[in-house]
């Protein structure tokens, strides 16, 4: 069984093996260091000409990668911390996303930007954020964020080799060491080709009382929470889309309709979130079918402290989710 990290490592390696047009760029990604989170470990030894360390210049090498993608490569770039996406957002928003439309689809930008997001490691305000919400809704790009219930190998490989659209690929720092969580009460739906939504329930038969919809690193909190809620006799279905944008709206609607009580969770700071859009879509599709207003949870709207206890208080927790679930039930 692969871990979140080893799935990414092997996904990259298999993509480099499968297509000589795949090239990997990023800061400190070559051996022996192998990247800040070791996702590229070993790759430069196997593919020295196609795994290249760059200067500390996110905007520059993102632009280089966009150009390479325009001219037939399938580049993958690593942004060491997701917080640094702000440095390359001009390339992402004004170039990568727009070229196919601006050139009447005569060009493609098959570029994957990989980057880790999320807190929980005491890295402080500028290395712990979940900034993916800044890129949701931009036409022309996809934003993908697998949980540890997803096979990261398959998803990353699909994004590199099969997806001709630019993909912002969000990883989670705390998930890297985790084995992929597999359970018989898990089912997978593929509404957005290549980017499955996984649902894990904590009951064998019957209907859920509550549906939790979340993505990425929150699977770490939610999987044990499901077991706890099972002990408290609450039937819960936890749904993890790997595609944040575009939204697998039919799949989420189907799960939401099963019980009419929905909790949306994300780690980013509160206000104008992924959950805001999902809630709006679900309200449109489930008008009159909801048993309670949709609950939306996120982290506190403030800078993330480095001190451990303060960071815990700032970020969304399993306890927050559990409280919201029972609030919906009462």
């Amino acid at each position: 069984m692969a871990s979140y990290l080893s799935g990414l490592q092997s996904g990259l390696k298999e993509a480099l093996t499968a297509n000589r047009k795949v090239i990997v760029l990023g800061e400190d990604i070559v051996d022996p260091y192998g990247g800040a989170f070791k996702v590229t470990k070993g790759l430069s030894t196997c593919f020295p000409e196609r795994v290249i360390s760059t200067p500390i210049c996110e905007g520059g090498f993102t632009g280089v990668a966009v150009g390479m993608a325009l001219r037939g490569f399938r580049p993958v770039i690593e942004i060491m911390f997701g917080d640094f996406l702000t440095l390359c957002s001009d390339q992402i928003v004004n170039h990568m996303a727009k070229f196919p439309d601006m050139y009447n689809n005569q060009v493609k930008v098959p570029l994957v930007i990989r980057t880790p997001m999320g807190g929980g490691r005491g890295y402080g305000a500028t290395h712990s954020q979940s900034l993916e919400k800044m890129f949701l809704g931009i036409p022309g790009i996809k934003v993908v964020a697998p949980s540890h219930l997803h096979a990261t190998n398959d998803i990353l490989k699909y994004a590199i080799l099969n997806d001709d659209d630019p993909v912002l690929f969000i990883e989670n720092k705390l998930l890297y060491p985790l084995e992929q969580h597999v359970h018989v009460f898990m089912e997978q739906s593929v509404e957005i080709s290549g980017y499955p939504t996984v649902a894990l329930r904590n009951f064998s038969t019957g209907k859920p009382d509550v549906t939790i919809i979340a993505y990425g690193g929150l699977s770490l909190e939610i999987v044990p929470l499901l077991a706890k809620l099972h002990d408290d006799e609450l039937n819960v279905n936890a749904v993890f889309p790997s595609s944040l944008w575009p939204v697998p709206v039919e799949t989420l609607t189907r799960y939401g309709a099963q019980c009419g009580r929905i909790v949306l969770c994300e780690e980013s700071s509160a206000g104008f979130n992924w959950g805001s859009e999902i809630a709006a879509l679900l309200y449109e599709n489930l008008h009159g079918k909801l048993a309670a207003p949709i609950a939306r949870l996120a982290s506190a709207s403030q800078a993330i402290p480095a001190a451990r206890q303060l960071e815990i208080k700032t970020l969304i927790s399993a306890q927050d989710i559990e409280n919201a679930v029972w609030e919906l039930m009462s």
Partner: protein, 372 residues
């Protein structure tokens, strides 16, 4: 002074352990708050750990050892040779202690909605966690027989009947009979088929398993029971004896279309269906079931726990023991004695006495003579 613990602090966000490089103070020696105790090293730097209290240092790990974040490194005691083992034990205990749950949160939620006080259930569920099902079960039993008008005039109300084993056909025909009787009223059904619990039959709730009768009886939720099991005599006997041991009263439920003549004597717990006929001077014990059109002729005596199929007929002065099972349409000649536990199939014509535990076989097409 209380014993104070010294733990490995988190020194680096990327590491969960450090190495003890050296002690700054010897074991059991005095330390003052702020003194350096030891030097620890991560992959990035060496750090001093300082005492947070005055006392005597007592090391729990060895020099050179790799220590996890939050792991105990030492304790600081008030005296140099104090025994701190109990302190460590209680510390470990309090860290591993989990609060014991008395009920699930779902049970708590449902109880709140239904107005059930979970304290009422804790005695019965002292050894187990109270579940949602327990609360629902308790809630159902709370409302049996509670009636705003009838309970205000208990002496004048119809007798409240609880049907035991009433989830199948026997229960249905009993309910139909009770619906046409003015002096009795069905208030609840017990049945061991859990699939029926929480549902109603002819508007009467199926409350729980048969063994719930004692609890309902103690709460005075019914006045008398009737057993509706017809297929198994053993079950009828067991249930009857159990309930009677607990002081529960039984009703005779007699369909209004049946005829019970004068001078008939009857025990309790008898269930007598439509168009049955009990002739003068016959005697019926306890817990018998008479299906429709059963006829017990004059001076016939019936024991306890017998079942009679439809159109059973005795002639006069027959004696029937206990736990005898008759099929449909059995005919019994006068003056015969049928002893306990006999089994007589449908259509038999009994012309001779049956000893204890007899099983009768019906002979069809018996050739008595061949015509010339």
């Amino acid at each position: 002074m209380n014993t104070v613990v010294v733990r490995m602090p988190v020194l680096n966000a990327n590491e969960d352990q450090a190495i003890i490089v050296d002690w700054c103070i010897e074991d059991k020696k005095a330390v003052n708050r702020g003194n350096e105790i030891c030097i620890v090293e991560t992959t990035k730097a060496a750090h001093d750990i300082v005492a947070e209290a005055d006392g005597f240092i007592r090391y729990l790990v060895k020099k050179g050892q790799v220590v996890k974040n939050d792991q105990l490194i030492a304790v600081i005691t008030a005296t140099p040779n104090e025994d701190y083992s109990d302190f460590i034990t209680s510390l470990e205990k309090s860290e591993s202690a989990t609060t014991e749950r008395k009920w699930t949160k779902k049970a708590e939620l449902v109880a709140k909605k239904l107005g059930v006080d979970l304290a009422d259930l804790t005695a019965k569920h002292a050894d187990s966690v109270i579940t949602e099902a327990d609360v629902l079960e308790f809630n159902k039993s709370r409302f049996v027989g509670k009636d705003l008008l009838e309970d205000a005039n208990p002496n004048l109300r119809p007798q409240r009947i609880l049907l035991i084993g009433g989830g199948a056909g026997g229960g249905a025909i009993t309910l139909e009979t009770l619906s046409r009787i003015q002096h009795q009223r069905a208030v609840g059904i017990l049945d061991n088929n859990a699939a029926l619990h929480g549902k109603t039959i002819m508007g009467v709730p199926v409350i729980g398993n048969n063994n719930l009768a004692a609890e309902l009886w103690q709460k005075k939720d019914f006045d008398a029971a009737i057993i509706c099991v017809t297929a198994s005599i053993i079950d009828r006997v067991t249930i009857f004896n159990n309930l009677r041991d607990q002081g529960i009263c039984f009703a005779n439920v007699i369909d209004p279309t049946s005829v019970v003549k004068s001078y008939v004597s009857m025990g309790e717990g008898n269930l007598i269906m439509g168009n049955a006929y009990l002739a003068p001077f016959c005697v019926l014990g306890d817990n018998n079931f008479l299906a429709s059109h059963a006829c017990i002729e004059h001076h016939t005596k019936v024991g306890n726990h017998c079942t009679f199929g439809p159109r059973f007929t005795t002639s006069g002065a027959v004696t029937i023991g206990n736990q005898v099972k008759f099929g449909m349409g059995v005919l019994v000649e006068p003056y015969l004695t049928i002893e306990d536990s006999c089994l007589i199939p449908s259509g038999c014509v009994l012309t001779q006495n049956l000893p204890f535990n007899s099983v009768v076989k019906m002979q069809h097409n018996q050739v008595i003579k061949v015509r010339s």
